[in-house]
Symmetry: none
Subunit: 222 residues, 4 copies
DNA sequence: TATGAATGAGTGTTCATTCAT
DNA sequence: AATGAATGAACACTCATTCAT
């Protein structure tokens, strides 16, 4: 299960900081929290280092640079969320239920500052383009996974599918701005509402031609 | 008309004199572009200044600080988008069509780096809490306006309405990450797709109890 | 009486700032207050300008530079205190009483932030040496005046006289650090105490040789 | 021994290794010189840094801020001068001789730019009030020590004692303005003259009532 | 005389990074 | 693996000063 298990459960053990050497894992985890809290730019190497009781310079024994750390964090985060959603849909057959499970997992994962994937919803760093490209490539990996759940829902044109995916992902990622872990609103509630609101999609696409015809006049005037 | 509400009275007619003076307006516009491109943290006063052919220090003749600039930019951006969506729905009666017009305008406005509202979709700065509070308050102004268009769609509980609003706003704001002005995909296309996908919402809420009953088994297991 | 009369009495009239043009005099006065309060370095042209309801740039119609302003302020301050002490001793015959009057006036003058001489007790600015030389030369003018009151007290060698003068001037100037105008301790009280404590000077110089003989052993070992 | 109380334990013996490392000590010393020469405001971090062959930013490895540096310097200076005067009076019994020894030491200490205490005679920085309060509190520590030497001289009322102390301290601190180490005038000469001039104080206070009676007429007219 | 806009040098400070120990 | 010291470039911001209007 990789990073998942480290995230929250074993954190208690970190109190013995002087003994436990700072591993790449614990640094990544701390970095995830700091990046999630302050963004890529505002987060400093000092912040991250001090979160694992290290001096800034010592981080460089584990990561070649801040950018390298970001890159690895991003990759680990994507790995993590992909694994999480795949586990979440195991045994779920109905495609809409699958989508709802994915959404719930996405929100849970992303909203948990202790988990690496939280950075997925942050503005990308104003970093060298080559780094940004890599991050985008990582994100695309998840997008592809997500796209599969979309196409399970019905017959869409590529454009329809793409827009639906972006619509849902936007809603989900934006949730980091307002969703609070431990609040009275659960991730499952949000996911349920989001998916329910889209439930008609399949119907809305073709059958509603008549409705759309009604609008045509205005459309053509644009 | 554009950025109405920011100007300072009669100065407008004077700028044309010899060389375009770097007014607060042009600074705000440049700042919007820079902030939109690089985020609040990564954007430097130097960037903004050089974008309007000023030395960094000269900016402080117009704005007391970077934070003050951000605040004013944010306020102007909210003013701008509120005005824009209100104009967009004038004469449109059908509530779904109104929503679509709002979405289209939101995307157009936000995706245009030259327009102030682009900052709305950016991560908030890791700034003094008092500033962040102000920015959130500004955003809330727009949220209220948006909420009105939601409640026009039908009868919702407060929670249903809130989640629907957040769902849509998330989709829209996230669009700054992938929507490109001038691309082959128009804002109106995106808005149309987004709204169409939600068209069933009203139906999905209550009438579809039967559909949901189908799912109940899993629901109760949660 | 020159600047004296302007200092405090007529300040009420400054409320009509828009009408009364800022004169060199009122600028000097404001500068005296600001310099006295914050020191030469920490005081800014902006501070001074805003104290007379001017913009920084406008000051340069009255003074060529900050240094020029300092210089003139210093000169005016020295003029002022010289005039003040000379008036204070008029009609006073006893040399010790004259000294006391001088001390009282010195403290009063210097402790009053509204009066120009307050700057006399401030650290000299870290300014171009040529300016510093001028300021020192101004100070010397007052020192000469003061020296005359010292030599009236009795027969001193030049060194004795010089040290006594520096001793007294030090006490007086240092008073700006702790003496508060309007407090329960009056300048006259302080002056009286200072002078009284020195009253024996004349006697102490020669007659006390025997006393000093007692100390000789240690003295010679130095 | 010198700057005892500032060091950080066992680091002392290590500095001699290759090239003198810019320790807190040497920075403090350099800062003392720079502050003494130019005042708190005019002295820049760059001045101090370059005096110990460091880059400006490197100072922040040792001190959190300019203010923190000032504060520590001030404290060290007060520690230093207190220790110095206390050592100077060891074995000296006559209270007037003790005072003279204190004065000599005060002048020597304060006039030596290399020693930290030189800053004691400088205008306080126009710094945040909390810092100024701390500095004043430090100065008060020395004032208390000094006050003890005053009260040894005879029976004074609190006010008499306070004024006498302020009179002497003023003379001494002012000496930084004119006293030059290495000049033909020695600190011991100055201290001797200062104390001698005050030798009559005890007599002047009570016995001289007749003299003061003579003055009464004028006194009451004030 | 006064203003508002701009300058350019300089200020304290931060930060990712390096490297000898 | 970790530290402590140092770097150098950059940053937000200040300030005395200039000048067209």
């Amino acid at each position: 299960m990789g990073l998942v298990g480290i995230s929250r459960g074993t954190r208690a053990g970190r109190g013995i900081s002087k003994k436990t050497p700072a591993t790449r894992q614990s640094i990544l985890l701390a970095a995830a929290r700091v990046f999630a809290a302050r963004g890529y730019e505002a987060a400093t190497i000092r912040d991250i280092a001090s979160a694992v009781d290290l001096l800034p310079g010592s981080l460089y024994h584990h990561f070649a640079s801040k950018d390298a750390l970001i890159e690895e964090l991003y990759r680990a985060g994507i790995d993590h969320i992909i694994k999480a959603v795949q586990e979440a849909v195991e045994g779920v057959d109905d495609p809409w239920e699958r989508l709802e499970a994915v959404c719930r997992t996405h929100i849970e994962t992303i909203a948990d500052g202790g988990l690496l994937a939280s950075v997925l919803s942050k503005d990308l760093p104003a970093a060298p383009p080559e780094l940004v490209e890599k991050l985008v490539a990582e994100r695309d990996r998840y997008d592809k996974v997500f796209a599969a759940f979309i196409s399970d829902l019905g017959k869409f044109t590529p454009l329809e599918a793409r827009l639906l995916r972006l619509q849902i992902l936007g809603s989900l990622n934006w949730a980091t701005r307002w969703f609070r872990v431990g609040g009275r609103l659960k991730a499952s509630d949000v996911a349920h509402a989001f998916v329910r609101n889209l439930r008609g999609v399949g119907d809305n696409l073709k059958p509603h031609v008549e409705k759309r015809a009604r609008v045509k006049a205005r459309d053509s005037s644009r």
